[in-house]
Symmetry: C2
Subunit: 246 residues, 2 copies
């Protein structure tokens, strides 16, 4: 299988996150899988969605970023870095977003990758969403690490349910774009853990990645659960948080 | 009162979001309030948290961003732009985060403002969180706009509850940093709305801002709801989504 890692850490080669990445990639390559990595800090990726992405504009008076994305896609005038990243994500079978949790979410450099690379009309829009999203047929998985201890991220924990923290990414980005979303891999507080724990994460991460093809995806609502009023059909209850926990 | 608007839109002066901002600021100034705005796109704000923020390092071998923030804060060596933004947020009584919703969250340029400006040891850390957060005594409010229609963001809507989409911002950033968090102001699908609706948003936004001092904040769990195990005390149920809706 083909794995594409989107990776963001301000210490792109020496951090514990970098060790996780190296360990995960090595496990996959040893098993004969293909791997590509976008190491965003190392690449100096530009995370700011702006008019600079469009040398020619459909609507020059007032920037409407998503409509310009659509126009640039149709005219094959997307920015070179956006094109290159799109090629990687369409190439892969498994898309891994790997980052340390910053303020309940991904670091800005990765959010900007999503803003710029998940292009309107290619990844979403014009009927492309959820099971019909542009990236359908692929699987995706978040790998993150926390400063906080695991119990703090339980439904009754100090920081609230990790599932709720990741919901905008899981449902709003990955499932929306068409991926089957696998349960996240979380390295809980590696800085405050002993060597056995942090080394354990390195090997279990490889195992989780190797199993990506057979892992049961998390359940989200496909568009067929909704009526023409965009509301859940009668008898279908909104999914609650926490369903991915073992 | 003193209002600080953190504003991000790639069309910083001509967009509908910019019109909302201008209208809100005008209403406040006419009523005698003081206003500051950080218009992030116009400022060319750097959203990438990196080692470049620390000319001298406590731990030169391996960047640990939060620990370097703490060191730089103690040595009064924070980056100039970070210092300037911190001064604005500490100056204000009401902090408004205003942005178009990009992938269930804020544009990357604003996420990077949070990553860089909400400095460890000043805003959070060392016991500073929730009601003891560094920005306690202030109020905060999200103002956003959507491409989607309002029913799509109901608990049973196609995109899930807007409250759940905003939870990482409301609880994980604003309440965590010490703010009392006011219900968000949402301009639903202004591009697909008639003039009466979009003009209506302009005036109701001003009213909502003027009422910020008296508006009942949303309910989140203060640290006193949790035991020494960081779990909710017996008899206290985890807050569910949707509680801010009228």
């Amino acid at each position: 299988m083909k794995y594409f890692f989107l990776f963001a850490h301000p210490e792109p080669e020496l951090s514990y996150q970098a060790a996780l990445l190296a360990s995960g990639c090595a496990a996959l390559e040893q098993a004969g899988h293909e791997v590509q990595v976008s190491n965003l800090y190392k690449m100096g990726f530009n995370p700011v969605a702006s008019g600079a992405d469009f040398p020619t504009r459909r609507f020059p008076d007032r920037l409407q970023y998503d409509r310009e994305q659509k126009g640039a896609a149709a005219a094959d005038q997307l920015a070179d870095d956006v094109k290159a990243e799109l090629a990687k994500v369409f190439w892969c079978d498994v898309f891994v977003m790997q980052f340390p949790l910053y303020w309940y979410s991904m670091p800005a450099i990765m959010k900007g990758w999503i803003d710029r690379v998940f292009v309107n009309s290619i990844v979403y829009g014009a009927g492309k969403r959820y099971e019909s999203g542009g990236l359908k047929g692929r699987r995706a998985m978040v790998c993150t690490s926390t400063g906080a201890y695991e119990p703090m991220f339980r439904p009754d924990g100090l920081l609230g349910d990790m599932d709720r923290a990741l919901w905008p990414i899981h449902n709003g980005i990955l499932f929306y774009a068409g991926f089957q979303v696998l349960p996240p891999f979380v390295a809980w507080s590696p800085t405050h853990s002993d060597a056995a724990t942090t080394e354990g994460y390195l090997s279990t991460y490889g195992e989780r990645l190797l199993a990506a093809g057979e892992t049961t995806p998390m359940a989200f609502h496909p568009t067929t659960d909704f009526g023409s009023d965009f509301r859940l059909k009668e008898g279908i209850a909104p999914r609650s948080a926490g369903h991915w926990r073992p």
